[in-house]
Amino acid sequence: MRAEAGLHVQRESAVPDRPPRLPWPVWTSAAATTAVVIGSVWDISWHVSIGRDTFWTPPHLLIQLCAAIGGLTAIHLIVRTTWGDDDIARAESVRVFGLRAPLGAFICGWGALAMLTSAPFDNWSHEAYGLDVTVVSPPHMMLALGAVGVIYGGFILTIAERNRAPAALSDRIDTLFILIVGVLMVGSQAELIEYSDKAFMHSAIFYRAFVVAFPMQLMLVRSLSSRRWACSAAAGVYMALSMLQEWVLPMFPAEQKLGPVFQRVTYMVPVGFPALILAPAIALDLLWPRLQRLNRWAAAALAGLVFLTVLLAVQWPFADFLTSPWSRNRLFGTHYQMYMVDPGTPFSRGEFIAYEATRAGFWAGMAIAAATAMMTSRAGLAAGAWMRRVQR
């Protein structure tokens, strides 16, 4: 079914039906997401507990596994579809640079290439400016963008199959998709670690950071899934996995291999107790029937505001608890300390930091957070609406 030049006529094709079975890209997508998220969380824990790393540390290998899965998925699908004799696969493909494959395969390949490119870029950045001391840097963002490409490429491979699948299969894909988004949220929090500390929970920067990724992911899963509690389920997966890393990582010993050591840490430090995303997720699920009746811009504005307001309402008082002695236990883990953090700072003492110097600065930050929440909600709705229509 190769497109011929000048042929713009829509015509039906005699495409035979596939037997209903769970498509394998579901599993590669889940594996890539899991690998990169576990790798990211473990890598951050490694940095704040042990310090020294190399290209070949286990967390780095997991992150590289994500790129490998994306790249191999793309190569396999492109080669099979472009040069193979599977007419069904060709009918379900798009054309990029003269090659044919499902759209998700090209996105996976692009993500893998971006992750690959970030390696020499990051290496040069180390040589030119020094080894990493921040998570949010241009090479790291390129790596994250590549990982997002691999993950969403897998999503789109999956979603395209789901959109063509019979109802029973669609339901199973739905469940897996919710799980994948929940895992992805854990990775989002790991990327935000510089702004997600409890010390910032009474500052606007905390909320500005969280609204970058979370409303988009929630509205995406809400748009795509037909389940009543899709957002809540994804948020529940996020919170359960986040708490799991909070409880499991400290069980493993650690020894600092970089100086200066400001505090002796004998365990792997977790990335922190999860934000209470479950609350705005429940609110969005409850609101969803009403949001569906609005146009997408109004729905996004309302969803963004609801997300921010509900998160603020629950996280602000919870932050008081997290900075109290009552949370310094294995359950909430606020007594865990990073070796390179000065024990005299508010981060270690469990105090709040006013990230914005003035009250006006705080409210300006919250206004930015509200606007960002609306925009990312809109992006999630748009992506969801488009993904519902993806066929290839």
Binding site: H8, V94, G130, P260, Q391
Partner: protein, 331 residues
Amino acid sequence: MRPGEAPPQPAGKRAAGVGSASLAAALSCPASGGASHAGLGRLAAAVAAAVLAWAVPVAAHLGSPDVFFEGNAGEYRMLVVVRMPRVIPGIAEIEVRPISPGVSRVRVTPLRIRGLGSDLEPAADLAQPDAGRPGVHLARLWLMQRGAWKVRVSADGDRGSGELFVPVAAVSNATLPMRLSLRWLLGTLALLLIAGAVAIVGASVREATSPPGLEPAAGLIRRGRWAMAIATALILGVLSLGGLWWRAAAANAAAALYKTPEVAGTLIDPRTLSVTAVTARGASNVRDGSPAGRDLVPDHGHLMHLFLVRSPGMDWMAHLHPRQTAGGGFE
């Protein structure tokens, strides 16, 4: 750090010269006596050229941050070389050459000289024997913050254990430019990624939502082209913002480069010279409001070494160690 030990030797940029330059210079001096000596002058020039042709190039290190240290680790005499990275955080290469026999194991540990973190040490690194140079042990030292550090070198052998400390100044001196080959590689990959992203956006609008087996209609092809144009503009916009971010990060890194403080001296009375280190404007030696003196690193056991030379005779020299005053200056 130990008084009486050999100081870290200044070294650095390789400055090439010729061993017989003084002879050549002497021979090529303008001869007195005018034209009658022109032939002698030509001869001198020819001899100078011949000598230069046979001259052996020599090299010296000037202004190097590398540290060369000789000292005792217990019963063992050791020669330690720390080759500093040009940027901090970075990795220094350390080379330990025991002069005394009997050393079987060498470990190295970087520690801040003073302040927070100077009392808690990271795990020591075992220096590995250099296969090509018997007796030499090599290790890599991760220096994650700027400032005054010491490297603890621990030696174990048949005469027990011992340790010595080598002071090192961890400062960023420069940012490295990108190699041409890497520039081409990253440029090519970036172009491929941009073109790929635009093409994927086009395909997603043109074909992705069409049922399998259908060719895209003219309207979808048109929309796809528009989407590619918009995607190109958006990507260029994002790249421009990324460029601003990168330039800001590079400017921060440049501001953090160490610049040698200028020194101002004032004669307070006939027997007292006040010396103040003045940080150049724009340099970030003074960080977090700390006094300039905090950026000075002890060298050979002293924060400041003052050399006085009588001029124009150049026949007298004094090497003094001014005392730090309460205000951060030296006298």
